[in-house]
Amino acid sequence: MIPERFLNALLLGGLLGVALLADWRDEPFTITLATRATILAIAATGLNLALGLGGLVSLGHAVFFGLGGYAMGILAFHAQTYAPVELGPLAIEGTTSMPLIWVTAIAVSSLAALVIGLLSLRTSGVYFIMITLAFGQMFFYFAVSWSAYGGEDGLSIYVRNGFPGLNTLDPIQFFSLCFVLLCLVLVLWSRLARSPFGLALNAARQVPARVETVGLDPKRLKLAAFVLSGAITGLAGALFADLNRFVSPSMFSWQLSGELIVLVILGGVARLCGPVAGAMLFVALEHWLGGLTEFWHVWLGAILLLIVLFAKGGLVGLLSGRPASHD
């Protein structure tokens, strides 16, 4: 059995190693795959905050991913056309600056998470899942009908946005940027998990009655977790759009919300690097199995089934030998 810390280092090292090796062997496509895994890992780490620490099974996290994506798409589109974004009396200039786009993506998705959280946290269990799903569908159909930004066809962006001092068109440089962000997000997650807030949130997931009895409001704790979670997933959405130079309503789809949950469960719920393991496995399967058969999801389903039945701690739990802390 591998100690979890060591396993985490191995996973992150492996991800970085694949990208560096691919760069050395001049295989930009492999770097793109590693970047895709990195960005999905960021999105799933966001979800792991709500799901793992807060016990909130959100089937609507694609909303934040999509909002992040459209924040990038819209700002970059307006930068391309030199026409400001008209928001009533307000006119906002488009931009191709990644930091500005990220800040916008984070702001928009936290705001959405605040509103969605306020409404859906009035319920729990299966109702919570259904409400978050319904929000996801609302955003999806809105994007489909929003013809100003491509509607159903989505929106292509012809240049990759810029980051001061980097050539973001160089695959390895863009990968490095995403990888650093992943590491920062993981540091944030692990600090949160050990903080007083994390302790209270973890208790609110298990026994809300106890949390109330010591004078704390479990719903507010969960709402805060949901907002942070949405912000992180929103950031990932902006990066994902930049990777593909394309946004479409599929970023809002419930399938994507489901995939994020699958990533977290595959890797290990409430494990720091669970989402990293899950995203790496997912992208690898998608690539290798997807190349062999159109029906690779069947195999993904089989693996998921095995994990849920026999390794509740996910891959990280299985390899580190520390059983599921909760299910």
Binding site: R191, L199, A200, Q206, V207, V211, T213, V214, G215, D217
Partner: protein, 249 residues
């Protein structure tokens, strides 16, 4: 006479046709242990629920330290200093004894919104939690996962969590339940010393403990208070003897 710290006035709670509380007026004065006894189903837990805010009364009011708290949330009442222990342990089973106790400590020091620093590195919080664990005699179990504790140890932990809040009044629902003779005796001695810190409204089945501890006893049956008085008065009350003590004492 001293003002009561905690008081209920005419609390009534119906579950359908069943009247679980029927005009219950009871008070808790500084420095005392006020025991509430009564057969199963008498409405003791329902009364506690209404005092703490988990059960909403149909009629009547709850007053704590001179404030009408009837419409306040559980958390708000706890914030005013109402410390509760549950009849069925409500603890975070996956967490350690120390983590459970820290939950109370961090609430008391109003630090749940600190997101960065490790809770275990916060000396004040840990000291506060450890002090509470020491007082209930659980110090050697601080790293044990709550799920691995014995029933009695969970009862002790319930009390420790309440202690971290330095409450102005305790409300305890059958803290001795399932403790065994040894454990009951230890907890009895502990509660005896606690009344000077804050008065205790004590729902309890263990009559030895009740007679040893209580300054006053109220007898509850079918949602109504039959009698309130000193230990001697209650022991002598013929109505109480037939209603309750006859079967249990």
């Amino acid at each position: 006479m001293t003002e009561p710290i905690l008081e209920t006035r005419g609390l009534t709670k119906r579950f359908g046709a069943l009247v679980a509380s029927d005009g219950v007026s009871i008070d808790l004065r500084p420095g005392e242990i006020h025991a509430v006894i009564g057969p199963n189903g008498a409405g003791k837990s329902t009364l506690i629920g209404q005092i703490c805010g988990t059960v909403i009364p149909d009629e009547g009011s709850v007053h704590f330290q001179g404030h009408d708290v009837t419409d306040e949330t559980v958390a708000a009442r706890a914030g005013r200093g109402l410390g509760r222990t549950f009849q069925v342990s409500a603890l975070a089973m996956e967490d350690t004894v120390l983590q459970n106790t820290l939950l109370g400590a961090l609430s008391a020091s109003s630090s749940p919104w600190r997101l960065w620093r490790s809770v275990l590195n916060d000396r004040d919080l840990v000291a506060r939690a450890d002090a509470a664990l020491g007082r209930v005699g659980l110090s050697d179990r601080r790293a044990t996962r709550c799920a691995d504790l014995s029933h009695g140890q969970r009862r002790q932990l319930e009390v420790a969590v309440a202690l971290t809040l330095s409450p102005r009044a305790f409300v305890m629902d059958e803290p001795m339940a399932g403790l065994g003779a040894e454990g009951s005796k230890a907890l009895t001695a502990f509660l005896d010393g606690l009344r000077d810190k804050a008065p205790i409204l004590l729902v309890e089945h263990d009559m030895d403990a009740v007679f040893a501890l209580a300054d006053r006893i109220s007898v509850l049956a079918e949602g109504r208070i039959l009698a309130t008085g000193t230990v001697a008065e209650i022991r002598a009350d013929p109505e109480v003897r037939t209603a309750y003590l006859g079967e249990d004492a």
